[in-house]
Amino acid sequence: MSDDQSYDLSRFKATYFEECAELLATAEETIARLQDGTGSADDLNALFRCVHSIKGGGGAFAFDDLVHFAHVFETSMDALRSGRAELTPHVADILVRGNDTLGDFVRAAQDGVTLPADHGSEVKAHLAAIISGEPAAPKAAAPVSAPPAAAAGFTTWTIRLAPAPGMLRTGNDPLLMIRELSGLGEMKVAADLSRLPALAEMDALNAYLAWTFTLVTDKGRNSIEEVFEFVAGDSADVTIEQIGKTVEAEDGDGWGLFAPLPPAPETAPAPPAAAPVAAAQPHPAAAKGGGDAGAAGIHTSSIRVDLDRVDRLVNMVGELVITQAMLGQQASGFSIESHPELVQGLQELSHHTRELQESVMAIRAQPVKALFSRAPRLVRDLSAKLGKQAKLVMSGETTEVDKTVIEQLSDPLTHLIRNSLDHGIEMPEERIANGKPAEGTIHLAAEHRSGRVIIQVSDDGKGIDRKRVLEKAVEKGLVERGAQLTDEQIDQMIFAPGFSTAAQVSDVSGRGVGMDVVRRNIQDVGGRVVVQSTPGQGSRFILSLPLTLAVMDGMLVAVGNQRYVLPLTNIVESLRPTPQQARTLVNVGDVLTLRGDYIRLIRLYDLFGIRNAITETTRGLVVVVETEGGDRIGLLVDELLGQQQVVIKSLDSNYRPVEGISAATILGDGRVALILDVGALRIMGERLNRAQGEAAIGAQAAE
């Protein structure tokens, strides 16, 4: 083999392994459904297709072990599909393990290593037991079994349709007949091109082709004759013949999807040119009862696009949004009376840009389902390992998030689920003693909320043991002994690097690398983690993530000679406080009373060291913002400059993260403006307050 060829092959292999990963994930998801009893026949079909596709590709690359295992797996599923074996929980478990083992084989093939010869032999034996568990199919070892519908009442027909040359002129379309015929059952088509004249002699209005159909159906001769009712005799030659009484086992996989067209029994060797007709014919599988939805899954019209190309598109749209903002700014001096077309055109441009941008972002969006699908396994395996009982409830799996976010979320989510099981959910005895059901619940939920994606992992376990966390924190030197911390502050401790309260390091968790990694990963994609915990009732981890990583609606605010962008989704209201509303409390700092609530006031100029800003609360503007944790703070700014759609530009790709700033953007005048990170501002504000408070106390003590 030349180098060129091997290079090509490796590219195909890469694609194959990529597909395998997707297929294995889909399979796992499907098995989970089968396992909890919500699965249907479609799921079995889908599972079968996954395994079959992996097997097919594997065969092309001569991964013999993989193919051999996949074959057994597939055959066992076929037994289930055809009803020869029953889908019991035990069988579902075997399917899970079968999928795992298949994954092992795929990985081994990918890494180019050879697994021990007996790898998966146990699972294989179980799978074989499923196949042979059916007395009616003693010869299960034979390559894949009969078509699923090999029940009584099915007949095979051979139908030949030879249209008269003028048939098309009478308004009869053979394609419609073929389509109708295929609706009667499973059908294979062979075209007869023998009547086809040379191109020069061809009359476009004449019908030259003839077809031979092999149809397996439970309908009678009448139904078939009905199809050709208008053409039989006059416009076309139709012969309908029945072959035998019962269906013989077909070769292939009984699906028709992957099987080659069988040679037509009557026609002379069917030339490959039959393909166009076969393609035009609706898929046999689509007509098969129960297979409809499953077949649709395979036919989803999607394409695989290199992520780089999408990103280039996203970037270009980003530039377009900036240009559009710039044009808008330039034209802001024109009134609609003086330049009606210009103003209107710009408005339209703005609509189109927004729509374009949304469509482009939708390309990158994926449902979190891909992420959640691993959770059921994790919970099952882990609870078994820990001797705990836990069930997983999921909601909002269809919520869509940017692909990058999904990728970054995989590890944190795993960590959080592990954490909930290991530290949260108690042992069954303990739960019963506390009046809880023996089985704990872990809830995984995703939803869109005010322009962000909120993913929550909650459990009904024992909650965070704040006393132990504090002890541990003191022990590790994270806080000073005797320090007074709020519950919230203690809860946040668990995200400190190297922190773990697990008395023993297990292979599940307890090495203390988890939670800080969780927080870092989430922060990397512009998100935040908040933990809420109630002792004895459980904990809830709330991950708040940006919906898209590229564009958002912002409010431009001025502080001194600086301009900042506040994410519109954070803003609750803005107001100019009266002297009665703005207060300074001892040990707390500046607060604002708002309809009976006290909210902390953060002076942005103070926090960022900006000169020439309005320092008097009653002369500036206070923008009330809400952080993802639900806390409200007031930000003192000079004025609001207006609402604007901004393109998010990374600050750390050329520099480094800046505290209080989530990213940068480019304004209509070409200048850079920084986007404020409200959650971080709140933390910075508290720190500044504390520092100032301590300084004040120090000054008092000195007096």
Binding site: N315, G318, E319, I322, Q562, R563, L607, F608, G609, I610, K649, S650, L651, S653, N654, Y655, R656, V658, E659, G660, I661, A664, I666, G670, R671, V672, A673, L674
Partner: protein
């Protein structure tokens, strides 16, 4: 025939002193434009500018060398350089020359002569002028820079 490699540098001035940057690192040279300040950044971090859609940080080399902040005007120059995967700008007084220097004529930096000695990779003498060659990687080590600033505070 000598097989010594010739290296090219672009030299620029800060006050009376001349510095050189490897020509391969330079992406473009542009006039000073107003930056957007970054909150709580060290004095030598002048902020960021928009360079055709990319956010580029601008470093005041004079301030970085501890000689006060440059009073930037339209006559000042930003040299946009690539350091690793990053793009950053350095604010200097003026661009001086393009130098072609034989690799072996680059002298090592005498230790502890200047505050900036750690930022230099070598010295060359061109037509009687001394040109200090910059170690861009060190100059643009933002994370270290941060640590140093905090330690000083």
């Amino acid at each position: 025939m000598s097989d010594s490699t010739i290296r090219q540098f672009i030299s620029f001035t800060i006050g009376d002193e001349e510095y050189g940057v490897d020509i391969m690192a330079i992406r473009e040279i542009k006039g000073w434009t107003e930056t957007t300040a970054l909150p709580n950044a060290p004095a030598h971090m002048r902020g960021v500018i928009n360079l055709r859609g990319t956010i580029v940080p601008i470093l005041d080399l004079r301030a970085r060398f501890g000689r006060g902040v440059t009073d930037a005007s339209a006559r000042h120059v930003i040299m946009v350089v690539a350091v690793g995967s990053r793009v950053a700008g350095i604010l200097v007084d003026a661009v001086a020359d393009i130098l072609a220097v034989a690799a072996e004529s680059i002298q090592p930096v005498p230790a502890l002569e200047h505050a900036e000695s750690g930022f230099l990779t070598g010295l060359v003498t061109v037509e009687g002028r001394m040109v200090a060659l910059l170690d861009l990687t060190h100059i643009f080590a933002f994370d270290e820079m941060d640590a140093a600033t905090e330690a000083a505070a």
